[in-house]
């Protein structure tokens, strides 16, 4: 079995393994599993090898190659990289080549990591199944290839489950890291809003979007987050809050932390097997000395409708830039500038993207703004207050990540509302700007992974990673390998 992220970095730093070998091994893993998974949109062969050779020469000269030396990483296809294309899974950006690297890409590279691939996603992050990809088509779940990997970071999640020793960058606007992590049995963190720079992330909903990672365990998430987090002058919403060493922080353990179980997070519609596994997971934490108590987040049931409106409103504004003029697809049928806009967009956006743009434009339009958008912003405030109150009593909150496990491809794609319902337990983190981590807490009888989610206070990402790490030291769900495995 291939070594993990921290072991790879230690081996390369210690000159036991060359970065070139590590990168070749990572690309080999991707090549072995991708024909069954359709998880990547591009693999970076020659440039990655050159970057690795470069790093090896620096190591040979005695330079410090960085904490993640020689670790391969992948970027979701909505994260800008100077190499290759950045398509966001959309036909409208099919041939778009970003003129710069996203800050996270730059920071991982500075830490010695090397980008080897771009991963598949739902178009512009709009979806929970990675079936809405107009570039690669549906990605498949390594646990059962007839099933979805979740989404929208489904390519990253499938690779995180089927390979070892890489960092997989994802983005999360309403659960797009955590829900696929749950579906694929891996650990995924959506950091606090402002913890990680969004510069170079193609915007979906700017007040909710956050970049994070999908990994084998909480320790790998901690290592990646330590390298990525922190203030960036290129993103004014990135926060000037000190970045701790998240890996070292894991050693503090879980004993004595207070964990809230919100009764509203086990609503009707949660699969009984999912609920059973999560409750067993809570018992594990209790046995580790965590003080478990009930809390209430009364506005939870309004979170998803609030999310649907706010995210659509922001998307309609953010996606106005795709106009067939500056970059991307242009219709050949357009005679006027207005037709350039309207036809290019109509021909190149997928159906779900159009639905969200339409709903967003509607709730922002004259006559409807107050009743819909403004109302949604007010309800978001109430949801935030729920969390502020809960976090005066407890250090973290626990819930299932998703009400259901991975579902068959094609099962929900014809009914958008059915698909939106999958997000009901993950959207509150984005609305409240709090960090959330999902990790496997067991399996259903059918053999599909179940994810458990922890929420923490803003900028206390380390606390939920500590809890997840303690859980993973006591269990082995995260070590189980799916049938499709490199």
């Amino acid at each position: 079995m291939s070594p993990g992220v921290l072991e790879t970095a230690a081996a390369v730093r210690g000159r036991k393994v060359k970065a070139a070998e590590s990168v070749a091994e990572a690309i080999g893993q991707i090549r072995r599993v991708d024909p069954q998974l359709h998880a990547v949109s591009q693999v970076r062969e020659d440039e990655a090898r050159r970057a690795a050779d470069d790093l090896d020469r620096r190591i040979a000269r005695g330079e410090d190659p960085g904490p993640l030396a020689g670790v391969a990483f992948t970027a979701k296809d909505n994260i800008c990289t100077r190499w290759g294309t950045t398509t966001a899974g959309s036909k409208i950006l099919e041939s778009y080549r970003a003129p710069y690297d996203a800050t996270v890409v730059e920071r991982l590279a500075r830490a010695g990591a090397i980008c080897v691939a771009k991963t598949n996603m739902d178009e512009f992050g709009m979806g929970s199944s990675t079936e809405n990809s107009a570039t690669v088509g549906p990605t498949r779940n390594p646990w059962r290839t007839t099933h979805v990997p979740g989404g929208s970071s489904g390519g990253a999640a499938a690779l995180a489950a089927a390979t070892r020793g890489m960092i997989h960058l994802g983005s999360d606007t309403g659960g797009s890291i955590r829900q696929p992590a749950a579906c694929c049995g891996v650990t995924g963190i959506k950091p606090s809003y402002g913890r990680v720079s969004r510069y170079g992330l193609l915007a979906f909903a700017s007040s909710l979007d956050q970049i994070g990672v999908l990994e084998a365990d909480a320790r790998e998430c901690a290592a990646a987050l330590s390298a990525m987090a922190g203030k960036d002058p290129m993103d004014s919403t990135s926060a000037d809050v000190p970045v701790p060493d998240y890996v070292a922080g894991l050693e503090k353990g879980a004993r004595g932390l207070r964990l809230g179980v919100p009764k509203e997070y086990f609503p009707e519609g949660v699969d009984p097997e999912v609920e059973a596994r999560v409750r067993e997971g809570i018992d594990v934490l209790r046995r580790l000395g965590v003080d478990v108590r009930e809390v209430s987040l009364p506005h939870t049931r309004h979170a998803n409708p609030t999310y649907v409106l706010i995210s659509a409103a922001e998307a309609s504004s953010n996606l106005a830039r795709y106009d067939g003029v500056h970059y991307g697809y242009r219709s050949s049928e357009a005679g006027s500038v207005l037709e350039v806009y309207a036809r290019s967009r109509a021909e190149a956006f997928g159906p779900e993207v159009k639905r969200r743009i339409m709903v967003g434009t509607f709730v922002l339009s004259a006559g409807y703004y107050d009743a819909f958008y403004n109302k949604a912003c007010k309800v978001r405030k109430l949801i935030r207050r729920d969390f502020e109150a809960a976090f005066r009593e407890v250090d973290a909150v626990v819930s299932p990540t998703s009400p259901v496990t991975a579902f068959p491809i094609g099962d929900k794609i014809d009914d958008p509302l059915k698909l939106y319902a999958v997000d009901v337990l993950t959207v509150p983190a984005n609305l409240a700007t709090v960090p959330g981590v999902s990790f496997p807490c067991g399996f259903t009888r059918a053999g599909l992974p179940v994810g458990m989610q922890l929420y923490g206070r803003p900028f206390e990402d380390g606390t939920i990673l500590r809890l997840a790490h303690a859980f993973q030291e006591a269990t082995d769900h995260h070590r189980k390998a799916p049938p499709v495995r490199a």
């Binding site: 003129p99 049931r301 409708p305 106009d323 309207a342 159009k354 339409m358």
Partner: protein, 128 residues
């Protein structure tokens, strides 16, 4: 509220989406479902809640008003579907009959640089 065909067409125009008749039918149904979905939260009492504009409390940040290097012109134009003489090329806006005439003139006369801003300012009702 009732979702009418006119409302869907109006929103599509504002969205700069040239949707087909078939798509309009589907979108109308989708709007109805969304309105039903959000009905419960609409009944919520939020009279005393300030909506807030930003997701995090933040203060405006100023920087010195000094020129800094930015994307060079060739790089910025590299992804444009049509370009010429260092500009983005779009169909003629000024002097075009009703905004609908005029082909895709390339470069020189008939080219409107910065068409994005000019186009966005247009009232769709007027220019169609």
């Amino acid at each position: 509220m009732e979702v009418t065909d006119d409302l869907v067409r109006h929103v599509a125009r504002l969205s700069r989406l040239d949707i087909s008749r078939e798509e309009a039918v589907g979108l109308k149904r989708h709007f109805e479902k969304i309105l039903a979905y959000i009905a419960a939260f609409q009944a919520l009492d939020t009279r005393d809640v300030d909506p807030g504009l930003f997701s995090v409390e933040s203060q405006n940040v100023f920087r010195a008003d000094e020129p800094r290097p930015s994307l060079d012109r060739a790089e910025a134009l590299r992804n444009a579907p049509q370009q010429g003489d260092g500009f983005f090329v779009v169909p003629r806006i000024v002097g075009a009959e009703g905004g609908a005439a005029g082909g895709q003139a390339k470069g020189g006369a008939g080219t409107e640089a910065g068409g994005h801003e000019a186009g966005r300012g247009d009232d769709p009702e007027v220019s169609e």
